[in-house]
Symmetry: C2
Protein backbone atom coordinates (compact mmCIF):
# COMPACT_ATOMS: atom_id res chain seq x y z
CA UNK A 1 0.00 0.00 0.00
CA UNK A 2 1.28 3.44 -0.94
CA UNK A 3 1.01 5.64 2.17
CA UNK A 4 -0.35 9.10 1.33
CA UNK A 5 -0.33 12.29 3.39
CA UNK A 6 -2.53 15.28 2.65
CA UNK A 7 -1.45 18.84 3.50
CA UNK A 8 -4.41 21.18 4.01
CA UNK A 9 -8.05 20.23 4.37
CA UNK A 10 -10.23 22.35 2.08
CA UNK A 11 -12.40 21.26 -0.87
CA UNK A 12 -9.47 19.90 -2.90
CA UNK A 13 -8.10 17.89 0.03
CA UNK A 14 -11.54 16.36 0.56
CA UNK A 15 -11.53 15.43 -3.14
CA UNK A 16 -8.14 13.73 -2.67
CA UNK A 17 -9.37 11.91 0.44
CA UNK A 18 -12.44 10.64 -1.44
CA UNK A 19 -10.31 9.60 -4.46
CA UNK A 20 -8.13 7.45 -2.19
CA UNK A 21 -11.24 5.49 -1.21
CA UNK A 22 -11.63 4.45 -4.87
CA UNK A 23 -8.12 2.89 -5.07
CA UNK A 24 -6.96 -0.41 -3.63
CA UNK A 25 -3.20 0.23 -3.66
CA UNK A 26 -3.10 3.52 -1.74
CA UNK A 27 -4.23 4.60 1.71
CA UNK A 28 -4.43 7.82 3.68
CA UNK A 29 -1.84 7.91 6.45
CA UNK A 30 -2.35 11.39 7.93
CA UNK A 31 -3.74 14.87 7.25
CA UNK A 32 -1.64 17.91 8.14
CA UNK A 33 -3.16 21.29 8.90
CA UNK A 34 -2.16 24.75 10.11
CA UNK A 35 -5.51 25.01 11.94
CA UNK A 36 -6.05 23.48 15.37
CA UNK A 37 -6.18 19.75 14.47
CA UNK A 38 -8.97 19.24 17.00
CA UNK A 39 -11.24 21.42 14.83
CA UNK A 40 -10.63 19.43 11.63
CA UNK A 41 -12.95 16.43 11.22
CA UNK A 42 -11.91 14.20 8.32
CA UNK A 43 -13.99 11.41 6.79
CA UNK A 44 -11.51 8.50 6.94
CA UNK A 45 -11.76 6.71 10.26
CA UNK A 46 -8.65 5.94 12.27
CA UNK A 47 -6.44 8.47 10.46
CA UNK A 48 -4.78 11.22 12.51
CA UNK A 49 -5.01 14.96 11.84
CA UNK A 50 -1.66 16.49 12.75
CA UNK A 51 -0.16 19.98 12.96
CA UNK A 52 1.67 20.98 9.77
CA UNK A 53 4.78 21.61 11.84
CA UNK A 54 4.98 17.92 12.75
CA UNK A 55 5.25 16.84 9.09
CA UNK A 56 8.97 15.99 9.29
CA UNK A 57 8.23 13.37 11.98
CA UNK A 58 6.44 11.38 9.29
CA UNK A 59 9.46 11.21 6.98
CA UNK A 60 9.63 7.41 7.06
CA UNK A 61 5.91 6.77 7.44
CA UNK A 62 4.60 8.48 4.30
CA UNK A 63 5.46 7.65 0.68
CA UNK A 64 3.98 10.72 -0.99
CA UNK A 65 2.39 14.00 0.11
CA UNK A 66 -0.46 15.64 -1.81
CA UNK A 67 -0.08 19.35 -1.12
CA UNK A 68 -3.55 20.94 -1.28
CA UNK A 69 -2.56 24.54 -0.48
CA UNK A 70 -3.44 27.56 -2.60
CA UNK A 71 -1.35 28.65 -5.59
CA UNK A 72 -1.13 32.34 -4.66
CA UNK A 73 0.95 32.21 -1.49
CA UNK A 74 0.95 28.64 -0.13
CA UNK A 75 2.37 26.27 -2.73
CA UNK A 76 5.38 28.38 -3.83
CA UNK A 77 6.63 28.10 -0.23
CA UNK A 78 5.38 24.72 0.98
CA UNK A 79 6.03 22.46 -2.04
CA UNK A 80 9.80 23.15 -2.03
CA UNK A 81 9.76 22.82 1.78
CA UNK A 82 8.00 19.44 1.66
CA UNK A 83 10.08 18.27 -1.32
CA UNK A 84 13.22 18.10 0.81
CA UNK A 85 11.77 15.21 2.81
CA UNK A 86 8.95 13.70 0.73
CA UNK A 87 7.74 12.88 -2.72
CA UNK A 88 5.14 15.58 -3.31
CA UNK A 89 2.37 16.51 -5.77
CA UNK A 90 0.70 19.89 -6.10
CA UNK A 91 -1.85 21.61 -8.32
CA UNK A 92 0.02 24.93 -8.76
CA UNK A 93 -1.92 26.88 -11.38
CA UNK A 94 -0.37 30.35 -11.64
CA UNK A 95 0.77 29.94 -15.24
CA UNK A 96 3.09 32.98 -15.17
CA UNK A 97 5.15 31.56 -12.28
CA UNK A 98 5.46 27.92 -13.31
CA UNK A 99 9.09 28.31 -14.41
CA UNK A 100 10.28 29.54 -11.01
CA UNK A 101 8.08 27.11 -9.07
CA UNK A 102 9.51 24.28 -11.16
CA UNK A 103 13.10 25.43 -10.53
CA UNK A 104 12.57 25.76 -6.75
CA UNK A 105 10.84 22.40 -6.46
CA UNK A 106 13.46 20.72 -8.64
CA UNK A 107 16.30 21.98 -6.46
CA UNK A 108 14.56 20.87 -3.25
CA UNK A 109 13.60 17.45 -4.62
CA UNK A 110 17.13 16.79 -5.81
CA UNK A 111 18.47 17.79 -2.40
CA UNK A 112 16.08 15.33 -0.76
CA UNK A 113 16.54 12.64 -3.44
CA UNK A 114 12.75 12.73 -3.95
CA UNK A 115 10.26 13.28 -6.78
CA UNK A 116 7.93 16.28 -7.03
CA UNK A 117 5.25 16.70 -9.67
CA UNK A 118 3.78 20.21 -9.93
CA UNK A 119 0.76 21.72 -11.67
CA UNK A 120 -1.30 18.52 -11.65
CA UNK A 121 -5.06 18.65 -12.17
CA UNK A 122 -7.11 19.27 -15.30
CA UNK A 123 -5.92 22.75 -16.33
CA UNK A 124 -3.03 22.74 -15.81
CA UNK A 125 -2.99 18.96 -16.09
CA UNK A 126 -5.10 16.83 -18.40
CA UNK A 127 -5.86 19.83 -20.67
CA UNK A 128 -2.11 20.55 -20.90
CA UNK A 129 -1.54 16.91 -21.86
CA UNK A 130 -4.21 17.17 -24.53
CA UNK A 131 -2.48 20.25 -25.95
CA UNK A 132 0.91 18.47 -26.03
CA UNK A 133 -0.39 15.29 -27.69
CA UNK A 134 -2.36 17.32 -30.21
CA UNK A 135 0.58 19.61 -31.00
CA UNK A 136 2.85 16.59 -31.40
CA UNK A 137 0.62 14.89 -33.96
CA UNK A 138 -0.75 18.00 -35.70
CA UNK A 139 2.12 20.51 -35.74
CA UNK A 140 0.39 22.44 -38.52
CA UNK A 141 -2.73 23.62 -36.69
CA UNK A 142 -4.28 25.74 -34.00
CA UNK A 143 -5.73 24.85 -30.64
CA UNK A 144 -8.51 26.35 -28.59
CA UNK A 145 -9.39 25.88 -24.93
CA UNK A 146 -12.94 26.46 -23.72
CA UNK A 147 -13.77 26.37 -20.01
CA UNK A 148 -17.15 25.63 -18.53
CA UNK A 149 -19.97 25.68 -17.97
CA UNK A 150 -18.54 25.82 -14.47
CA UNK A 151 -17.96 27.75 -11.29
CA UNK A 152 -14.84 29.93 -11.21
CA UNK A 153 -13.78 30.33 -7.58
CA UNK A 154 -11.49 33.27 -8.35
CA UNK A 155 -14.24 35.23 -10.08
CA UNK A 156 -16.77 34.37 -7.37
CA UNK A 157 -14.32 35.65 -4.75
CA UNK A 158 -13.74 38.86 -6.73
CA UNK A 159 -17.47 39.60 -6.64
CA UNK A 160 -17.65 38.83 -2.91
CA UNK A 161 -15.09 41.55 -2.23
CA UNK A 162 -17.47 44.23 -3.62
CA UNK A 163 -19.20 46.36 -0.97
CA UNK A 164 -22.80 45.30 -0.38
CA UNK A 165 -22.29 41.71 -1.64
CA UNK A 166 -23.08 38.93 0.82
CA UNK A 167 -22.45 35.92 -1.44
CA UNK A 168 -21.75 35.29 -5.12
CA UNK A 169 -21.25 32.51 -7.63
CA UNK A 170 -19.75 33.05 -11.08
CA UNK A 171 -20.18 30.61 -13.97
CA UNK A 172 -17.83 30.69 -16.93
CA UNK A 173 -19.81 29.69 -20.00
CA UNK A 174 -18.35 28.89 -23.43
CA UNK A 175 -20.09 30.59 -26.36
CA UNK A 176 -21.82 27.75 -28.20
CA UNK A 177 -21.46 29.20 -31.68
CA UNK A 178 -17.70 29.58 -31.13
CA UNK A 179 -17.35 25.98 -29.94
CA UNK A 180 -19.37 24.79 -32.92
CA UNK A 181 -17.17 26.69 -35.36
CA UNK A 182 -13.96 25.35 -33.81
CA UNK A 183 -15.33 21.80 -33.75
CA UNK A 184 -16.18 22.13 -37.44
CA UNK A 185 -12.51 22.87 -38.12
CA UNK A 186 -13.18 26.46 -39.25
CA UNK A 187 -10.23 27.74 -37.16
CA UNK A 188 -11.90 31.10 -36.42
CA UNK A 189 -10.12 34.12 -34.94
CA UNK A 190 -11.77 34.56 -31.55
CA UNK A 191 -11.43 37.43 -29.11
CA UNK A 192 -11.73 36.87 -25.37
CA UNK A 193 -15.35 38.08 -25.61
CA UNK A 194 -16.12 35.69 -28.49
CA UNK A 195 -15.17 32.59 -26.49
CA UNK A 196 -16.80 32.89 -23.06
CA UNK A 197 -19.57 34.72 -21.26
CA UNK A 198 -19.75 35.19 -17.51
CA UNK A 199 -22.93 34.59 -15.49
CA UNK A 200 -22.97 36.04 -11.99
CA UNK A 201 -25.45 35.13 -9.26
CA UNK A 202 -25.30 37.58 -6.38
CA UNK A 203 -26.90 37.79 -2.93
CA UNK A 204 -26.93 41.47 -1.94
CA UNK A 205 -26.88 42.68 1.63
CA UNK A 206 -30.02 44.39 2.93
CA UNK A 207 -30.26 47.93 1.57
CA UNK A 208 -27.27 47.52 -0.79
CA UNK A 209 -27.26 49.50 -4.07
CA UNK A 210 -27.80 46.68 -6.61
CA UNK A 211 -27.36 48.93 -9.61
CA UNK A 212 -23.94 49.99 -8.32
CA UNK A 213 -22.92 46.37 -7.56
CA UNK A 214 -23.88 45.31 -11.08
CA UNK A 215 -21.88 48.17 -12.60
CA UNK A 216 -18.85 47.42 -10.43
CA UNK A 217 -18.92 43.77 -11.53
CA UNK A 218 -19.35 44.48 -15.22
CA UNK A 219 -16.54 47.03 -15.36
CA UNK A 220 -14.03 45.12 -13.21
CA UNK A 221 -10.79 44.96 -15.24
CA UNK A 222 -9.30 41.53 -16.13
CA UNK A 223 -12.15 39.66 -14.42
CA UNK A 224 -15.27 40.93 -16.25
CA UNK A 225 -14.71 44.05 -18.37
CA UNK A 226 -13.62 42.07 -21.45
CA UNK A 227 -16.62 39.68 -21.33
CA UNK A 228 -20.34 39.80 -21.90
CA UNK A 229 -21.38 39.53 -18.28
CA UNK A 230 -24.85 39.03 -16.82
CA UNK A 231 -25.66 39.74 -13.18
CA UNK A 232 -28.68 38.14 -11.50
CA UNK A 233 -29.62 38.98 -7.93
CA UNK A 234 -30.99 36.05 -5.98
CA UNK A 235 -31.88 35.23 -2.37
CA UNK A 236 -29.67 33.41 0.09
CA UNK A 237 -32.10 30.48 -0.14
CA UNK A 238 -31.87 30.32 -3.95
CA UNK A 239 -28.08 30.37 -3.68
CA UNK A 240 -28.12 27.41 -1.29
CA UNK A 241 -30.67 25.48 -3.33
CA UNK A 242 -29.32 26.00 -6.85
CA UNK A 243 -25.65 26.96 -6.62
CA UNK A 244 -24.04 24.85 -3.90
CA UNK A 245 -22.17 22.48 -6.25
CA UNK A 246 -18.81 23.05 -7.92
CA UNK A 247 -19.40 21.68 -11.42
CA UNK A 248 -16.93 22.50 -14.19
CA UNK A 249 -15.52 21.20 -17.43
CA UNK A 250 -14.54 22.34 -20.87
CA UNK A 251 -12.82 21.31 -24.07
CA UNK A 252 -9.43 21.47 -25.74
CA UNK A 253 -9.87 21.33 -29.50
CA UNK A 254 -7.11 21.38 -32.09
CA UNK A 255 -7.72 21.56 -35.79
CA UNK A 256 -4.92 21.13 -38.23
CA UNK A 257 -3.97 19.98 -41.67
CA UNK A 258 -2.00 17.03 -42.97
CA UNK A 259 -1.00 15.70 -46.38
CA UNK A 260 1.42 16.66 -49.12
CA UNK A 261 -0.62 19.75 -49.96
CA UNK A 262 -1.29 20.45 -46.26
CA UNK A 263 -5.02 20.66 -46.91
CA UNK A 264 -6.55 17.55 -45.30
CA UNK A 265 -8.53 18.70 -42.26
CA UNK A 266 -8.09 16.83 -38.97
CA UNK A 267 -9.76 17.71 -35.67
CA UNK A 268 -8.97 16.35 -32.20
CA UNK A 269 -10.98 17.12 -29.07
CA UNK A 270 -10.61 16.37 -25.37
CA UNK A 271 -13.47 17.35 -23.12
CA UNK A 272 -14.61 17.09 -19.54
CA UNK A 273 -18.03 17.33 -17.93
CA UNK A 274 -17.39 17.39 -14.19
CA UNK A 275 -19.99 17.03 -11.47
CA UNK A 276 -17.40 18.28 -9.01
CA UNK A 277 -14.24 20.14 -9.90
CA UNK A 278 -12.35 19.46 -6.60
CA UNK A 279 -13.28 15.76 -6.57
CA UNK A 280 -12.07 15.31 -10.16
CA UNK A 281 -8.89 17.31 -9.53
CA UNK A 282 -8.29 15.22 -6.41
CA UNK A 283 -8.61 12.06 -8.51
CA UNK A 284 -6.00 13.33 -10.97
CA UNK A 285 -3.66 14.22 -8.10
CA UNK A 286 -3.93 10.69 -6.70
CA UNK A 287 -3.01 9.10 -10.04
CA UNK A 288 0.10 11.31 -10.24
CA UNK A 289 0.92 10.59 -6.58
CA UNK A 290 1.11 6.92 -7.57
CA UNK A 291 3.46 7.81 -10.43
CA UNK A 292 5.68 9.94 -8.16
CA UNK A 293 6.05 7.05 -5.74
CA UNK A 294 6.91 4.62 -8.54
CA UNK A 295 9.48 7.00 -10.07
CA UNK A 296 11.06 7.52 -6.68
CA UNK A 297 11.20 3.75 -6.10
CA UNK A 298 13.04 3.37 -9.41
CA UNK A 299 15.72 5.79 -8.17
CA UNK A 300 14.73 9.01 -9.92
CA UNK A 301 14.62 12.42 -8.28
CA UNK A 302 13.83 16.05 -9.15
CA UNK A 303 10.75 17.95 -10.31
CA UNK A 304 8.43 16.75 -13.07
CA UNK A 305 5.23 17.92 -14.75
CA UNK A 306 2.51 15.83 -16.38
CA UNK A 307 4.52 16.10 -19.61
CA UNK A 308 7.31 13.98 -18.12
CA UNK A 309 5.20 11.11 -16.79
CA UNK A 310 4.65 7.96 -18.87
CA UNK A 311 0.91 7.14 -18.72
CA UNK A 312 1.50 3.54 -17.55
CA UNK A 313 2.82 4.89 -14.24
CA UNK A 314 -0.60 6.36 -13.41
CA UNK A 315 -2.67 3.17 -13.26
CA UNK A 316 -3.00 0.57 -10.56
CA UNK A 317 -2.68 -2.16 -13.23
CA UNK A 318 0.73 -3.41 -14.39
CA UNK A 319 2.17 -2.46 -17.78
CA UNK A 320 1.44 -6.00 -19.05
CA UNK A 321 -2.20 -5.76 -17.89
CA UNK A 322 -2.58 -2.39 -19.62
CA UNK A 323 -1.14 -3.79 -22.87
CA UNK A 324 -3.49 -6.76 -22.72
CA UNK A 325 -6.68 -4.87 -21.87
CA UNK A 326 -6.45 -1.20 -22.83
CA UNK A 327 -4.12 -1.04 -25.84
CA UNK B 1 17.95 16.34 -38.08
CA UNK B 2 16.53 12.95 -37.21
CA UNK B 3 17.02 10.68 -40.24
CA UNK B 4 13.93 8.59 -40.93
CA UNK B 5 13.50 5.52 -43.13
CA UNK B 6 10.14 4.21 -44.29
CA UNK B 7 9.54 0.50 -44.98
CA UNK B 8 6.71 -0.08 -47.45
CA UNK B 9 4.99 2.49 -49.64
CA UNK B 10 1.22 2.17 -49.39
CA UNK B 11 -1.32 4.67 -48.04
CA UNK B 12 0.12 4.70 -44.53
CA UNK B 13 3.69 5.22 -45.76
CA UNK B 14 2.50 8.16 -47.86
CA UNK B 15 0.89 9.58 -44.72
CA UNK B 16 4.23 9.23 -42.91
CA UNK B 17 6.08 10.86 -45.80
CA UNK B 18 3.65 13.79 -45.77
CA UNK B 19 3.85 14.12 -41.98
CA UNK B 20 7.63 14.48 -42.20
CA UNK B 21 7.13 17.53 -44.41
CA UNK B 22 5.33 19.23 -41.49
CA UNK B 23 8.31 18.83 -39.10
CA UNK B 24 11.54 20.80 -39.02
CA UNK B 25 13.67 18.39 -36.98
CA UNK B 26 13.17 15.21 -39.05
CA UNK B 27 13.84 14.25 -42.65
CA UNK B 28 13.21 11.32 -44.92
CA UNK B 29 16.43 9.46 -45.70
CA UNK B 30 15.19 6.50 -47.78
CA UNK B 31 12.15 4.39 -48.62
CA UNK B 32 12.49 0.58 -48.67
CA UNK B 33 10.22 -1.66 -50.71
CA UNK B 34 9.83 -5.28 -51.70
CA UNK B 35 8.54 -4.17 -55.11
CA UNK B 36 10.88 -3.17 -57.92
CA UNK B 37 12.17 0.22 -56.65
CA UNK B 38 12.00 1.61 -60.18
CA UNK B 39 8.20 1.28 -60.06
CA UNK B 40 7.80 3.21 -56.81
CA UNK B 41 7.55 6.98 -57.26
CA UNK B 42 7.72 8.84 -53.97
CA UNK B 43 6.89 12.53 -53.43
CA UNK B 44 10.04 13.72 -51.65
CA UNK B 45 12.65 14.80 -54.15
CA UNK B 46 16.20 13.54 -53.90
CA UNK B 47 15.39 10.62 -51.64
CA UNK B 48 16.26 7.08 -52.82
CA UNK B 49 13.85 4.15 -53.05
CA UNK B 50 15.81 1.01 -52.15
CA UNK B 51 15.16 -2.73 -52.07
CA UNK B 52 14.05 -3.95 -48.64
CA UNK B 53 16.95 -6.39 -48.66
CA UNK B 54 19.45 -3.53 -48.65
CA UNK B 55 18.09 -2.13 -45.36
CA UNK B 56 21.06 -3.31 -43.28
CA UNK B 57 23.40 -1.19 -45.42
CA UNK B 58 21.73 1.88 -43.92
CA UNK B 59 22.47 0.90 -40.30
CA UNK B 60 24.52 4.02 -39.61
CA UNK B 61 22.64 6.36 -41.92
CA UNK B 62 19.14 6.10 -40.42
CA UNK B 63 18.08 7.01 -36.87
CA UNK B 64 14.64 5.44 -36.90
CA UNK B 65 12.56 3.26 -39.23
CA UNK B 66 8.80 3.63 -39.58
CA UNK B 67 7.57 0.18 -40.55
CA UNK B 68 4.42 0.58 -42.66
CA UNK B 69 3.71 -3.09 -43.34
CA UNK B 70 0.42 -4.87 -42.66
CA UNK B 71 -0.44 -6.35 -39.27
CA UNK B 72 -1.61 -9.73 -40.53
CA UNK B 73 1.61 -11.21 -41.88
CA UNK B 74 4.16 -8.39 -42.36
CA UNK B 75 4.80 -6.66 -39.06
CA UNK B 76 5.12 -9.76 -36.84
CA UNK B 77 8.12 -10.75 -39.00
CA UNK B 78 9.66 -7.48 -40.09
CA UNK B 79 9.51 -5.38 -36.90
CA UNK B 80 11.65 -7.85 -34.90
CA UNK B 81 13.93 -8.18 -37.97
CA UNK B 82 14.40 -4.43 -38.26
CA UNK B 83 14.67 -3.97 -34.48
CA UNK B 84 18.01 -5.76 -34.40
CA UNK B 85 19.64 -2.93 -36.33
CA UNK B 86 17.38 0.11 -35.99
CA UNK B 87 15.04 2.00 -33.73
CA UNK B 88 11.65 1.12 -35.21
CA UNK B 89 7.99 2.15 -34.95
CA UNK B 90 5.00 0.18 -36.19
CA UNK B 91 1.21 0.36 -36.13
CA UNK B 92 0.53 -3.30 -35.28
CA UNK B 93 -3.21 -3.55 -34.59
CA UNK B 94 -4.08 -7.24 -34.10
CA UNK B 95 -5.15 -6.85 -30.48
CA UNK B 96 -5.11 -10.60 -29.75
CA UNK B 97 -1.41 -10.91 -30.68
CA UNK B 98 0.03 -7.80 -29.05
CA UNK B 99 1.61 -9.75 -26.19
CA UNK B 100 3.68 -11.99 -28.46
CA UNK B 101 4.56 -9.16 -30.87
CA UNK B 102 5.72 -7.11 -27.88
CA UNK B 103 7.87 -9.98 -26.56
CA UNK B 104 9.48 -10.66 -29.96
CA UNK B 105 10.19 -6.99 -30.60
CA UNK B 106 11.52 -6.50 -27.08
CA UNK B 107 13.98 -9.36 -27.45
CA UNK B 108 15.21 -8.10 -30.83
CA UNK B 109 15.52 -4.49 -29.68
CA UNK B 110 17.51 -5.48 -26.61
CA UNK B 111 19.80 -7.59 -28.78
CA UNK B 112 20.38 -4.60 -31.04
CA UNK B 113 20.51 -2.08 -28.15
CA UNK B 114 17.71 -0.17 -29.89
CA UNK B 115 14.20 1.09 -29.10
CA UNK B 116 11.03 -0.24 -30.74
CA UNK B 117 7.55 1.20 -30.20
CA UNK B 118 4.70 -1.01 -31.41
CA UNK B 119 0.96 -0.47 -31.96
CA UNK B 120 1.25 3.28 -32.62
CA UNK B 121 -1.60 5.13 -34.34
CA UNK B 122 -5.01 6.16 -33.08
CA UNK B 123 -6.58 2.80 -32.17
CA UNK B 124 -4.38 1.25 -30.94
CA UNK B 125 -2.59 4.50 -30.07
CA UNK B 126 -4.24 7.75 -29.03
CA UNK B 127 -7.52 5.98 -28.14
CA UNK B 128 -5.56 3.53 -25.95
CA UNK B 129 -3.88 6.49 -24.24
CA UNK B 130 -7.27 8.08 -23.64
CA UNK B 131 -8.48 4.84 -22.03
CA UNK B 132 -5.43 4.66 -19.75
CA UNK B 133 -5.61 8.29 -18.60
CA UNK B 134 -9.35 7.99 -18.02
CA UNK B 135 -9.02 4.71 -16.11
CA UNK B 136 -6.24 6.20 -13.99
CA UNK B 137 -8.29 9.21 -12.89
CA UNK B 138 -11.73 7.55 -12.79
CA UNK B 139 -11.13 3.98 -11.58
CA UNK B 140 -14.80 3.68 -10.63
CA UNK B 141 -16.42 3.92 -14.07
CA UNK B 142 -16.98 2.44 -17.49
CA UNK B 143 -15.58 3.36 -20.87
CA UNK B 144 -17.00 3.12 -24.35
CA UNK B 145 -15.28 3.34 -27.71
CA UNK B 146 -17.20 4.43 -30.81
CA UNK B 147 -15.60 4.28 -34.24
CA UNK B 148 -16.60 6.33 -37.24
CA UNK B 149 -18.17 7.60 -39.26
CA UNK B 150 -15.34 6.18 -41.30
CA UNK B 151 -14.09 3.72 -43.87
CA UNK B 152 -13.10 0.30 -42.55
CA UNK B 153 -10.55 -1.20 -44.93
CA UNK B 154 -10.96 -4.70 -43.53
CA UNK B 155 -14.72 -4.69 -44.02
CA UNK B 156 -14.41 -3.17 -47.49
CA UNK B 157 -11.97 -5.92 -48.44
CA UNK B 158 -14.33 -8.59 -47.08
CA UNK B 159 -17.09 -7.37 -49.39
CA UNK B 160 -14.71 -7.25 -52.37
CA UNK B 161 -14.01 -10.96 -51.92
CA UNK B 162 -17.69 -11.82 -52.62
CA UNK B 163 -18.40 -13.21 -56.11
CA UNK B 164 -19.88 -10.59 -58.43
CA UNK B 165 -18.46 -7.59 -56.52
CA UNK B 166 -16.22 -5.25 -58.45
CA UNK B 167 -15.57 -2.65 -55.75
CA UNK B 168 -16.88 -1.82 -52.30
CA UNK B 169 -16.58 0.72 -49.51
CA UNK B 170 -17.83 0.08 -45.97
CA UNK B 171 -18.51 2.85 -43.48
CA UNK B 172 -18.69 2.10 -39.76
CA UNK B 173 -21.23 4.48 -38.23
CA UNK B 174 -21.80 5.03 -34.50
CA UNK B 175 -25.46 4.96 -33.42
CA UNK B 176 -26.20 8.55 -32.41
CA UNK B 177 -28.66 7.72 -29.65
CA UNK B 178 -26.08 5.42 -28.05
CA UNK B 179 -23.37 8.11 -28.20
CA UNK B 180 -25.78 10.63 -26.71
CA UNK B 181 -26.67 8.31 -23.83
CA UNK B 182 -23.01 7.59 -23.05
CA UNK B 183 -22.10 11.28 -23.25
CA UNK B 184 -24.90 12.07 -20.81
CA UNK B 185 -23.26 9.73 -18.32
CA UNK B 186 -26.11 7.21 -18.39
CA UNK B 187 -23.67 4.27 -18.65
CA UNK B 188 -26.02 2.13 -20.74
CA UNK B 189 -25.54 -1.57 -21.48
CA UNK B 190 -24.92 -1.68 -25.22
CA UNK B 191 -24.75 -4.72 -27.48
CA UNK B 192 -22.56 -4.73 -30.58
CA UNK B 193 -25.68 -3.90 -32.63
CA UNK B 194 -26.61 -0.99 -30.33
CA UNK B 195 -23.31 0.81 -30.87
CA UNK B 196 -22.58 0.78 -34.60
CA UNK B 197 -24.29 0.31 -37.95
CA UNK B 198 -22.53 -0.64 -41.16
CA UNK B 199 -23.15 1.14 -44.47
CA UNK B 200 -21.92 -0.68 -47.56
CA UNK B 201 -21.55 0.87 -51.03
CA UNK B 202 -21.05 -1.76 -53.67
CA UNK B 203 -20.25 -1.73 -57.39
CA UNK B 204 -21.59 -5.00 -58.83
CA UNK B 205 -20.11 -6.66 -61.90
CA UNK B 206 -22.29 -6.76 -65.01
CA UNK B 207 -24.98 -9.38 -64.64
CA UNK B 208 -24.18 -10.15 -61.01
CA UNK B 209 -26.99 -11.26 -58.69
CA UNK B 210 -27.39 -8.17 -56.47
CA UNK B 211 -29.93 -9.80 -54.19
CA UNK B 212 -27.51 -12.63 -53.49
CA UNK B 213 -24.59 -10.21 -52.90
CA UNK B 214 -26.67 -8.22 -50.43
CA UNK B 215 -27.63 -11.37 -48.55
CA UNK B 216 -24.06 -12.63 -48.46
CA UNK B 217 -22.90 -9.32 -46.99
CA UNK B 218 -25.62 -9.07 -44.36
CA UNK B 219 -25.14 -12.62 -43.11
CA UNK B 220 -21.33 -12.66 -43.10
CA UNK B 221 -20.26 -13.81 -39.60
CA UNK B 222 -18.08 -11.47 -37.44
CA UNK B 223 -18.05 -8.77 -40.12
CA UNK B 224 -21.75 -7.96 -40.62
CA UNK B 225 -24.16 -10.52 -39.13
CA UNK B 226 -24.18 -8.86 -35.68
CA UNK B 227 -24.89 -5.38 -37.08
CA UNK B 228 -27.70 -3.50 -38.73
CA UNK B 229 -26.20 -3.37 -42.19
CA UNK B 230 -27.38 -1.43 -45.24
CA UNK B 231 -26.22 -2.25 -48.76
CA UNK B 232 -26.44 0.33 -51.54
CA UNK B 233 -25.45 -0.52 -55.11
CA UNK B 234 -23.78 2.34 -56.96
CA UNK B 235 -21.92 2.85 -60.22
CA UNK B 236 -18.17 2.87 -60.64
CA UNK B 237 -18.44 6.61 -61.33
CA UNK B 238 -20.36 7.27 -58.10
CA UNK B 239 -17.75 5.28 -56.18
CA UNK B 240 -14.95 7.41 -57.63
CA UNK B 241 -16.80 10.67 -57.09
CA UNK B 242 -18.18 10.15 -53.57
CA UNK B 243 -16.12 7.48 -51.85
CA UNK B 244 -12.47 7.99 -52.78
CA UNK B 245 -11.38 9.45 -49.42
CA UNK B 246 -10.42 7.56 -46.27
CA UNK B 247 -12.09 9.62 -43.54
CA UNK B 248 -12.46 8.17 -40.06
CA UNK B 249 -12.70 9.09 -36.43
CA UNK B 250 -14.59 8.22 -33.30
CA UNK B 251 -14.73 8.79 -29.57
CA UNK B 252 -13.55 7.23 -26.34
CA UNK B 253 -15.89 8.22 -23.53
CA UNK B 254 -15.56 7.24 -19.90
CA UNK B 255 -18.15 8.03 -17.26
CA UNK B 256 -17.49 7.40 -13.63
CA UNK B 257 -18.21 8.50 -10.13
CA UNK B 258 -16.17 10.23 -7.45
CA UNK B 259 -16.78 11.46 -3.91
CA UNK B 260 -17.21 9.90 -0.49
CA UNK B 261 -20.57 8.44 -1.50
CA UNK B 262 -19.29 7.53 -4.98
CA UNK B 263 -22.19 9.35 -6.59
CA UNK B 264 -20.73 12.47 -8.23
CA UNK B 265 -20.89 11.95 -12.01
CA UNK B 266 -17.80 12.75 -14.09
CA UNK B 267 -17.47 12.29 -17.86
CA UNK B 268 -14.32 12.46 -19.98
CA UNK B 269 -14.26 12.28 -23.78
CA UNK B 270 -11.55 12.09 -26.42
CA UNK B 271 -12.64 12.31 -30.01
CA UNK B 272 -11.22 12.48 -33.52
CA UNK B 273 -12.68 13.73 -36.78
CA UNK B 274 -10.20 12.72 -39.45
CA UNK B 275 -10.17 13.87 -43.04
CA UNK B 276 -7.70 11.09 -43.80
CA UNK B 277 -7.07 8.07 -41.61
CA UNK B 278 -3.64 7.15 -43.07
CA UNK B 279 -2.38 10.75 -43.00
CA UNK B 280 -3.37 11.14 -39.36
CA UNK B 281 -1.94 7.75 -38.40
CA UNK B 282 1.26 8.69 -40.23
CA UNK B 283 1.45 11.88 -38.17
CA UNK B 284 1.13 9.92 -34.93
CA UNK B 285 3.86 7.50 -36.09
CA UNK B 286 6.22 10.40 -36.75
CA UNK B 287 5.74 11.85 -33.25
CA UNK B 288 6.56 8.46 -31.73
CA UNK B 289 9.52 8.02 -34.08
CA UNK B 290 10.95 11.21 -32.56
CA UNK B 291 10.41 9.76 -29.07
CA UNK B 292 12.08 6.47 -30.02
CA UNK B 293 15.15 8.32 -31.27
CA UNK B 294 15.36 10.42 -28.10
CA UNK B 295 14.97 7.37 -25.83
CA UNK B 296 17.67 5.57 -27.76
CA UNK B 297 19.97 8.60 -27.49
CA UNK B 298 19.50 8.56 -23.72
CA UNK B 299 20.75 4.96 -23.62
CA UNK B 300 17.49 3.00 -23.32
CA UNK B 301 16.64 -0.12 -25.29
CA UNK B 302 13.79 -2.62 -25.65
CA UNK B 303 10.19 -2.51 -26.79
CA UNK B 304 7.70 0.14 -25.68
CA UNK B 305 4.07 1.03 -26.32
CA UNK B 306 2.41 4.45 -26.19
CA UNK B 307 1.76 3.77 -22.49
CA UNK B 308 5.49 3.91 -21.73
CA UNK B 309 6.30 7.17 -23.52
CA UNK B 310 6.35 10.47 -21.62
CA UNK B 311 4.40 13.02 -23.69
CA UNK B 312 7.24 15.58 -23.68
CA UNK B 313 9.29 13.20 -25.86
CA UNK B 314 6.79 13.54 -28.71
CA UNK B 315 7.11 17.25 -29.46
CA UNK B 316 9.73 19.18 -31.36
CA UNK B 317 9.80 21.77 -28.57
CA UNK B 318 12.02 21.32 -25.49
CA UNK B 319 10.56 20.37 -22.11
CA UNK B 320 11.13 23.95 -20.89
CA UNK B 321 9.29 25.37 -23.91
CA UNK B 322 6.37 23.01 -23.31
CA UNK B 323 6.18 24.01 -19.64
CA UNK B 324 6.21 27.70 -20.58
CA UNK B 325 3.66 27.54 -23.40
CA UNK B 326 1.42 24.48 -23.13
CA UNK B 327 1.17 23.68 -19.40
Amino acid sequence: MIRVGIVGYGNLAKGVEAALMHTSDMKLEAVFTRRDPATVAIKTSGVPVCPYDSLADYKDKIDVIVNCGGSATDLPVTTPQIAQNFNVIDSFDTHANITSHFANSDEASKKGNKISIISVGWDPGLFSLARVYMNAVLPNGQDYTFWGRGVSQGHSDAIRRIEGVEDARQYTVPVESAVRSVRAGEMPNLSVRDKHTRECYVVAKDGADKKKIEEQIKTMPNYFADYDTTVTFITKEEMAANHSGLPHGGSVIRSGFTGFAGDTPQTVEFSLKLGSNPEFTGSVLIAYARAAYRLSLSGECGCRTVFDIAPALLCEQSAAQLRAHLL
